[in-house]
């Protein structure tokens, strides 16, 4: 298949391969012989001869004397380009995506053939961004690598925040988008899949079933007991088990948030203080309740728009300690549930 090739000559992938090999052989052996090319490419010598004849026609090589092949200036330039791009892509796959060498090699070849110049440039820019952008203090590549290795241990300390973020809903800085678990999506609500959890095995299953980031998903029927959720994915009805539904994070527009959630987890309405994890900052939207408890909360500084921080929780996760209005306050989770909040980053 030939899409937009990298060079003006519209070379086939095979031809590009040949050029690479020839360049490589000349670099290491100083000459390129048909026999060696055939070995490298794992084809018969007549096949190679035929290919060489075509390349010579295109003005990329000099195929004159028996078996010896030279690159024309143009051929050399093209070969260098191809090789370089291949090399970068292989590097990208290996270093950033942590793909094993053999696979990286093979796929770099294929990729390089099919990618347009512009796409390749974007990839190079992405690589630069990840390694060099001065707005990040840390090496993002390094961190991503940790993500890759840690993904089979969801309780890994470094991944706690990510995992927790998937477990607890949070609002994005634009205040209009909320990320919640698919399992918490109310019936009739629609959202866009954002994250597929951090366990490789489960992720593969999800992808296989069509759940991918960017896909629009609508909750038709919530799960009851062990029954699966029924969702609509791209117009097609689909079932998903509660376990898997808990791994998917979905972005929802905040105005449409319903409050009636029926999950079988401990009751955590998407945005109250009891659901804010330790170490997280929050802003209070409203203080519900009535009577003495409500009054006490207000007296101690829990009012609308106040920003606070969850400091810690006791052994049995109850009570929790919170900083609000410059004071440390402790309260039971049942009391915290009365305070509607949104999580800040």
């Amino acid at each position: 298949m030939k899409n937009e090739a990298l060079n003006e000559q519209n070379l086939s992938q095979a031809q590009e391969d040949y050029l690479k090999i020839i360049l490589d052989l000349i670099g290491s052996h100083r000459v390129a012989r048909i026999k060696e090319i055939a070995q490298r490419k794992n084809v018969s010598m007549p096949t190679v001869s035929e290919a060489m004849r075509k390349l010579a026609q295109d003005g990329l090589i000099n195929y004159s004397a028996h078996e010896l092949i030279e690159l024309t200036p143009q051929g050399e330039q093209t070969a260098h380009q191809i090789t370089a791009r291949h090399q970068f892509l292989r590097y990208f796959l290996q270093e950033i995506l942590n793909i094993p060498t053999d696979t990286a090699n093979a796929e770099a070849c294929a990729l390089e053939h099919h990618l347009s110049a512009e796409t390749l440039e974007r990839l190079i820019l992405l690589y630069q961004f990840l390694t060099n952008c001065p707005r990040f203090d840390e090496n993002l590549i390094e961190i991503f690598r940790q993500c890759l290795t840690a993904e089979n241990q969801p309780d890994h300390a470094e991944c706690h925040d990510c995992f927790v973020k998937i477990a607890f809903p949070h609002t994005l800085p634009d205040h209009h988008t909320i990320h919640i678990r698919l399992a918490d999506l109310p019936e009739g609500q629609e959202g866009v899949i954002v994250i597929l959890g951090i366990e490789a095995e489960k992720r593969r299953i999800l992808i296989g079933q069509g759940f991918v980031p960017g896909a629009t998903i609508k909750m038709e029927r919530s799960a009851v007991g062990d029954q699966p959720f029924i969702v609509k994915l791209k117009g097609l009805q689909s079932k998903i088990s509660p376990e898997l539904a808990r791994l998917i994070e979905v972005a929802v527009q905040s105005e449409n948030q319903q409050t009636n959630m029926n999950t079988n987890e401990t009751v955590v309405t998407p945005s109250n203080l009891a659901g804010v994890p330790t170490g997280q900052r929050f802003r209070i939207k409203k203080v519900c309740g009535e009577g003495e408890i409500w009054q006490r909360l207000i007296d101690l500084g829990f009012i609308k728009n106040e920003v606070g921080l969850v400091i810690r929780e006791a052994l049995l996760k109850d009570p929790i300690e919170v900083e609000i209005k410059g004071t440390r306050v402790s309260l039971r989770r049942s009391e915290a549930r009365l305070i509607e909040t949104e999580v800040l980053n």
Partner: protein, 729 residues
């Protein structure tokens, strides 16, 4: 007792009753808990403070009278509150005091490092329209944290004079008093402006004030400006005051409802929240203008560093147990020997009287009744004092709330508040200070339940009794049995608490939400004063009644005396006996006494639990103090007793040995007895303390009643059950 330190002496000395014609200036001290108000109060009044009660309620009233420069000052320490709502007794007491007693000036003590919260209360006092002075306390901490408060600017904005103070060092207090006195005499211009909370609220506010104005007598009594805000806040107490006092009550309340509804619709929020938010907005505005932070506060201050350890999820409970253990050890380690000295002292006194007086009933009354009674009270004293010292330290340093945090979940399962744990822990030593410690529970229901159940624990007095019985009847299993009974104490207390929670004392859970104050080193002076107060209070209140009761029980155990048959003969023969020979055994004396008669009379009932009249008498005597059980048993078995400390092993084992030989008793009965002793009527000291803390005799009576019934039922079940078990197998 010299508690005067350098600075304190300057401020005051006791005022004499006959003063010159200077009238007393009445100054009320208010502020949040943990604002350092108490330190200031202690520093100003020193020893000259008294503790009483606000009329009709069990909220403590602390006040002191001193002479300061040319004036007489009466300082009243109002209860520490975060706000002036109608939800707690403390708040109602504070505001009623201000409205009804009309003090000349109020000093609101503020923690300068946290004005965001502390000014909230100040605003509410301003709403009351009273002469006010603000104390910017803890100004040293403020400086250390790099927080700078523009005092003059803030004073101008708020419209009240402000004085910087450092309460626990006694600094700035002179200036504070001077300012307060000046305000009270009208010499300092205090801005009588009324706070406005935004136009909409203001309109509603004025409407209600106008309505209230229809009854001038009412508005003279209750400041309308304040009452109007409270009505907007649906304040229960305010509504009641209007209902019972205002001539146009029904109209006003209906109109107020309408006005409030209108306001709520406008803001789409609850009126209480609206007003609270307006207050905080006002505070934020003020702070923005006047408070600057010179450098960024360290992210992790000392309090946080300590909390990281103390409130660590896994270390929290062990650390707490360790702290309690240390307090416990210190208290009983130091207290027991001291108690021993006091006990010896009284024994010595008793001996002196025995030697110097002729034998006779009066002498017996003095030694066995009066001295033993007084001694019995004072023996508790070292324990009480030391425990109170430990508690004060825990509270004043700020650790108490951490402990409540750590233990809350566990206690919550039984319907109790995390703060109930301290009485529970203390009760394993002695129920008396445990009950005093229950004062830290804000909610009356929680307090009552805690007080009613903590005496179930195995205290220092029950320990020797149970130990003796265990050793005598269970030999090698004694340790296990002892531990089982100890554990049973906890089970009984917690289960009964849960039961009460679910039946008689049902109701909303009291709020747990509480402040965790920064750790502070309390001033030694303050702590000692704290301790001294509690001591005096204990001696005075408890002493009188316990003494009376002990005498009554002594009487019941010794009278009427059995008829003596020898004396008439001696009289006939003309021989004068210089000393009445003890021809009747102590056992016989006991049997013929009132207590003995009760014991004998109750025997048929007691038999259900396997007890006989001897145990009946013993248990009656045990109401005075549980240790008396051992000494009474000693009498019954003819073992010489002389107010010896029950820890005296020789006597204990002697009694135990004798009892175990008595065919009337068995391990089963002993076990029933142990449980009975754990549960039944708390000792006199405890009962008296219950009355004092809860305010009425109905509580100790109820407690005596239900514990007796419960104890008896348990004993019967154990005994009968055991018999059944044995007959079946």
């Amino acid at each position: 007792m010299n508690f005067h330190r350098r600075a304190r002496l300057r401020y005051g000395h006791a005022s004499t009753a006959s003063s010159d014609n200077a009238t007393t200036i009445r100054i009320a001290l208010a502020g949040n808990p943990n604002s350092g108000k108490t330190s200031i109060f202690n520093a100003i009044t020193g020893q000259h403070q008294h503790i009483g009660n606000y009329p009709g309620v069990t909220v403590e009233k602390k006040f002191g009278r001193i002479r300061y420069k040319n004036d007489l000052l009466e300082i009243i320490d109002l209860p520490g509150t975060y706000s002036l709502t109608a939800y707690s007794m403390e708040e109602i007491v504070a505001r009623d005091f201000v409205i009804q007693e009309k003090p000349d000036v109020i000093i609101d003590v503020l923690d300068s490092t946290n004005l965001e919260r502390h000014l909230y209360l100040l605003l509410q006092f301003q709403e009351l329209g009273v002469p006010l002075v603000g104390a910017l306390n803890m100004s040293d901490e403020c400086e250390a944290k790099g927080i700078h408060v523009d005092q003059n600017q803030m004073s101008a904005i708020l419209g009240i004079p402000l004085v910087k103070t450092i309460g626990n060092k006694g600094s700035g207090l002179g200036k504070l008093l001077d300012t307060a006195i000046q305000v009270s005499k009208g010499k300092l211009p205090v801005d009588q402006r009324h706070l406005t909370y935004g136009d909409d609220v203001e309109t509603a506010h004025n409407q209600i004030i106008a309505l209230l104005g229809s009854d001038p007598a009412f508005t003279r009594k209750y400041p309308p400006h304040w009452l109007a805000i409270k009505l907007l806040e649906k304040d229960r107490d305010a509504i009641q005051k209007v209902q019972h006092g205002h001539t146009q009550a029904t109209t006003i309340l209906a109109e107020t409802d309408r006005i409030r509804q209108h306001l709520e619709n406008h803001f789409k929020d609850d009126s209480v929240a609206i007003i609270a938010e307006q207050r905080y907005a006002y505070i934020n505005g003020t702070i923005r203008e006047t408070v600057t932070v010179a450098r960024t506060r360290p992210a992790v201050d000392l309090t946080e560093r300590i909390d990281r350890i103390v409130l660590n999820r896994f270390l929290g409970i062990p650390i707490f147990l360790l702290v309690m253990f240390l307090i416990y050890q210190a208290t009983f380690g130091l207290g027991n020997p001291l108690a021993g000295y006091i006990s010896d002292l009284f024994t010595r006194l008793s001996e002196i009287i025995k030697d110097s007086m002729p034998p006779g009933q009066f002498r017996d009354f003095l030694t066995d009744g009066l001295i033993a009674g007084v001694g019995g009270v004072l023996v508790f004293l070292p324990l009480v004092v030391l425990l109170m010292l430990g508690l004060s330290l825990l509270e004043d340093t700020g650790y108490m709330s951490r402990a409540a945090f750590v233990m809350d979940k566990l206690f919550h399962i039984f319907g109790l508040h995390g703060r109930s744990f301290i009485p529970f822990m203390l009760a394993t030593g002695c129920a008396v200070p445990a009950i005093m410690a229950a004062r830290s529970l804000a909610n009356r229901r929680d307090r009552i339940i805690t007080i009613l159940v903590t005496p179930f624990m195995m205290c220092g007095a029950k320990t020797p009794v149970v130990a003796m019985l265990a050793a005598a009847f269970f030999h090698e299993k004694a340790g296990l049995v002892f531990w089982g009974v100890w554990f049973f104490g906890w089970v009984a207390a917690l289960t009964t608490a849960l039961f009460f929670r679910k039946t008689f004392f049902r109701g909303d859970q009291s709020p747990f939400v509480m402040e965790l104050p920064p750790y502070r080193l309390p001033s030694p002076h303050s702590v000692l004063i704290h301790m001294w107060q509690r001591t005096l209070s204990y001696i005075h209140k408890a002493g009188t009644i316990i003494l009376a009761a002990a005498i009554i029980i002594w009487f019941a155990l010794n009278y009427p005396k059995p008829a003596s048959t020898i004396q008439p003969v001696a009289a006939h023969s003309g021989i004068e006996l210089s000393q009445s020979a003890p021809l009747t055994t102590p056992e016989q004396t006991l049997r013929s006494s009132f207590a003995g008669k009760i014991g004998v009379g109750l025997e048929p009932v007691l038999k259900l639990a396997g007890f006989d009249w001897k145990l009946g008498v013993t248990l009656v005597a045990g109401i005075a103090a549980k240790e008396v059980i051992i000494s009474t048993l000693g009498i019954l078995y003819g073992i010489e007793e002389e107010n010896q400390a029950p820890e005296d092993h020789a006597k204990m084992t002697a009694v135990g040995w004798r009892i175990s030989r008595d065919p009337a008793y068995s391990p089963l009965i002993a076990f029933a007895l142990m449980i009975f002793v754990m549960l039944y009527i708390p000792c006199l000291a405890t009962l008296v303390m219950v009355k004092k803390e809860l305010g009425s005799w109905k509580w100790p009576l109820f407690q005596a009643g239900y514990t007796l019934v419960l104890a008896f039922l348990m004993a019967v079940i154990i005994f009968q059950g055991g018999l059944l078990f044995r007959s079946v197998f």
